[in-house]
């Protein structure tokens, strides 16, 4: 067993792994000391509470929410990849890339390219890749802080959205839509595609040199540079991956839903960051957890659905939503502090970015 890959299964942190031996103790204890424990508990409870009105832990209730959660998980993982590169990086252009790609998909498949969906998908992905590369160039060569660079890039994309949207809301249907809407026991094809994408991202972040470099870079940029991590190339790949993933999400959403709308990406701005945080991953960089973020996405999706099912007053809904998010993160943080006192005070302090 190689300690490099067996400990901290979900939050990957090679440098920490070198210092600490694998956690010992009963399996359940390890399960409950994971960073995503809070999200897991919250998701299960919300599933149960929401499903109650339609018969307990109904599989159907899970199925109808899983697609939306899968979409949010993709956005979260895109955001997480950028956040993992450290230095307070966020990709604020995500919602704009999602929306623009959705419009390109709908415009291209709606006749502009003779209805050739394969080309439409490639064109949408090219838009996302291009936007991601522009972000990376702004960040790396002009040394513009990532939040500002991606925000600026987002504004430019916003103009393109206004332009393209003026004349072209055709309905994106076709074989891709049939595939995404196909159902097995209520679970959609779109969900299967999301899971496949998440697995691919897990492999990229956990099983490739890029993934190791990304974590090293996020934990200590200077140490990573001295160890030979090519920071410029890493920045380029990171923002490109984020852009591509966002564009892919735009393709999936517009095809699944049938037509894009201008606010399509908006909910994914805060939603993507929230999914990462609720999933137990630190925002200070150097950490990733694809499955934690996925659990976070489920929590956030269930919260919205449950509040509709319970028919609460509108003002109340936001309050409860906020409380559930705080509770979930608090559980994670408390577990983290407890772990910190028994294992490594030094690293808890580092994770919390204080002292």
């Amino acid at each position: 067993m190689n300690p490099l890959t067996t400990s901290h299964d979900l939050v990957h942190s090679p440098i920490r792994d070198l210092i600490h031996a694998p956690a010992r103790g009963a399996a359940w204890r390890r399960l409950f000391s994971r960073p995503w424990t809070g999200a897991l508990v919250a998701a299960a409870m919300l599933w149960f509470l929401g499903g109650l009105s339609s018969g307990g832990l109904s599989l159907r209730f899970l199925a109808v929410n899983a697609t939306a959660a899968g979409f949010l998980a993709l956005a979260g993982v895109a955001q997480m990849t950028v956040m993992a590169s450290g230095g307070g990086s966020f990709d604020l252009s995500l919602p704009y890339i999602i929306t623009l790609s959705a419009y390109v998909m709908s415009a291209a498949s709606g006749g502009m390219l003779g209805g050739n969906q394969a080309i439409a998908v490639l064109l949408s992905l090219a838009v996302g890749l291009g936007a991601g590369m522009v972000n990376a160039l702004l960040v790396w060569f002009l040394r513009i802080p990532p939040m500002v660079a991606t925000l600026a890039c987002g504004y430019i994309l916003y103009s393109l959205i206004v332009g393209i949207q003026r004349s072209s809301t055709s309905v994106a249907g076709g074989s891709l839509q049939s595939l995404l809407r196909a159902q097995v026991f209520g679970f959609t094809g779109a969900l299967a595609v999301c899971i496949a994408t998440l697995v691919a991202m897990w492999v990229l972040l956990r099983r490739t040199r890029y993934g190791y470099f990304l974590h090293a870079m996020g934990q200590n940029r200077e140490a990573a540079r001295l160890s030979g991590v090519p920071l410029g190339t890493m920045t380029l790949i990171t923002f490109s991956v984020s852009g591509l993933l966002a564009a892919w999400l735009g393709v999936l959403i517009s095809s699944f839903q049938g037509a894009p709308s201008t606010n399509l990406g908006t909910t994914y701005l805060m939603g993507s960051v929230a999914a990462v945080v609720v999933g137990g991953t630190s925002i200070s960089g150097g950490q990733t957890s694809v499955w934690g973020t996925t659990l976070g996405a489920f929590v956030l999706t269930f919260v919205v659905t449950d509040l509709i099912v319970w028919q609460l007053q509108p003002g109340f809904q936001h309050l409860i939503q906020g409380l559930i998010v705080i509770a979930t993160v608090a559980v994670t943080k408390l577990a983290e502090i407890r772990r910190g006192t028994t294992r490594s005070k030094q690293h808890t302090a580092q994770e919390r970015g204080s002292k």
């Binding site: 109808v64 206004v162 909910t267």
Partner: protein, 361 residues
Amino acid sequence: MIAAAAIALGIGGLAACDSGGDDSPSGGKNSGAQAEDQEPMKGKPITIGISQPFMTNAWQQALVVSAEDARDALNAAGYNIKLEILDANSNPQTQVQQINDLTLKGVDVLLVNPASVSALDGAIEAAIAAGVPTISFADGPVTSTEPIELEFDVAGGQEAIARQTFDLINGKGKVLNIRGGAGSGADPIWQSGVDAALADYPDIEIVAEVFGEWDESTTQQRVSGIMSTLPEVDAILTQGQMGYGAAQAFLAAGREVPLQIFGTPGVELKFWQQLNKDKGYVTKASSCDAGIGSIAVNVAVALLNGQDVPKRMNAPFITIEQTDLDQFIVDMEDAGVDSAFKNYDYQWTLENILTQDVTVP
């Protein structure tokens, strides 16, 4: 040239598919000489500033096209009007700066489509103090009592839509109610119209309320989320811009699309057209008319012409019947926007808007 003639030409042929009556754009009725007296601004350069909250929305884009159509129509009738249109990208702070900027430039009239009900009060009052007549329109009213208000009676409009929806299912059945933004200021006003209608329809049961945030994607996700808890639904009621998302949620779940009165986004109209072709689905569409852009320009010009402009006016809702649907889609595409609307001419505005006596609720 006949002054103040029928100028509902922005979208060719719309007047033709109108059902007629008092609400329709009418032709010029007064003689040229009479009009000259009442239109001293004719020929003089006029600059009208329009401050838009955002433009990533087909309805807002249609509003601007409608304003431009009204400008073109008035200029064709001998005016010399320039529009200065700014987009605040959903940021009230940006809009404050833009209002200040337009005030400094000294536009003749300022039309503010507010991104916030209260954040613009200071800027608007400063503009009025600087002598720029200011009209808040479309997305208001703002909290300041100083500007002239040209708004929609959304409660009344939504009540009419709710009654028509309930009538579509013969006053009896299960209805899914899609509301707007949870906790927003506008949503309870829309909902009050629904509540007023419900009082007269005891056999209508609201089976679920979903907040769709006035967005098709959000609506689809949220309706999909509760699909397993929904019984048979006979009709859907929305606040506009959410009907397509709601319908798609039912389609994606393999269920029949319940009846509903659609909004005016192109995607909803085309979807309705398809449903009608495939399944004989017959309904109508109704929503706030983005043609308020033309009315606002007309009111601004009337104000400069020295007409009496009431402090508070209501703009009409647009209604598209099944028989008019195809024509509206053609006209919408000709206008290059993705939301159906109707233009109103200057004379119609004088007769139907300036004569209003609206009590502020």
